[in-house]
C-alpha cells in the first residue's frame, strides 16, 4: 500500500518538499514536477535532505520539466531518477494513491 507523492513547488521558495519528506513512508515514491524539479539538484543547500530519503523512498523528477529549466540529468542527486510523462502515469498506476503537496 504505497503512495505516490507529487511536489510541484521549488524547495528553495516553499516548504512543501520538506513537509512531504517528513511524511513519506518507507516504500513510497516522490515525484518532483514543474518547479519542484529543482529539488533534484545535486550540490544545493537542500541536496542532503533529499539524498537522506532517497534510500527508503524512491525519488523521481519529471524529465520534461527538467529539460525546460535547462538542467542536465547529470546534475541530479545520486539516487534521483528522471522519468517522462509515461513514467508519471506508470507511477500513478503502480501505487495505491496519489497525494499532491501543493
Amino acid at each position: 500500500m504505497a503512495t505516490l507523492h507529487t511536489v510541484n513547488k521549488s524547495p528553495f521558495a516553499n516548504q512543501s518538499l520538506l513537509s512531504c519528506l517528513n511524511h513519506v513512508k518507507d516504500g513510497d515514491s516522490v515525484l518532483m514536477i514543474e518547479d519542484g524539479v529543482y529539488g533534484g539538484l545535486a550540490g544545493s543547500g537542500l541536496s542532503d535532505a533529499v539524498a537522506a530519503k532517497a534510500g527508503s523512498v524512491q525519488v523521481f523528477v519529471l524529465q520534461e520539466d527538467l529539460e525546460a529549466r535547462g538542467i542536465d540529468a547529470g546534475r541530479l542527486i545520486d539516487g534521483v531518477t528522471a522519468v517522462g510523462y509515461d513514467g508519471f502515469v506508470n507511477l500513478v498506476a503502480e501505487t495505491d494513491r496519489t497525494q499532491a503537496w501543493l
Binding site: T6, N8, K9, I33, E34, D35, E64, D65, G84, Y85, D86, F88, V89, N90, V92, A93, R97, T98, A100, L102
Partner: protein
Amino acid sequence: MKIGVLISEGPYTHQAADTAFKFVTAAIAAGHEVPRVFFYHDGVNVATRLSVPPQDERNIQQNWSGLAKEHGTDLVVCIAAAQRRGLLDENEANRQGKDANNIADGFRISGLGQLIEMGIQCDRLVTFGD
C-alpha cells in the same frame, strides 16, 4: 485503470493545466481511461472561450476542448468556483441576469458532487495545482 484528474489553478499563470494536459494525454496513450477532469478554484478559468493567447503560445482551452472532443472526456467546471470568478454558461448567465457567457465547447458547469463522485468511481485521483 480509471484515473480522475483535478485541476486547481488557472491557465497560463500556473503550469498546472499544462502538466495535467500532458499527463492525461500520456495516460490515455498508455491505455488508461480518464473519464472526467474536474476544474476547481482558479482552474475554472481554463474553460473560458474568450482567451486570446499570443500566436506563438499554446492555447490551453483549445487543448482541453480538443481532448474532450476526441476522447469524450467529461470536463466539469465547479459551479460555485465559477460563479465567484465570472465563468458562466448560457443557462447560468440567464439565471443570474448576466448579459453574456464565456464557457467554451466541451466544458460543462456542475456541482462539487461531481468531484466526490469522481473520487468514488475512479481508481486513482491526481491533483494538479499550486
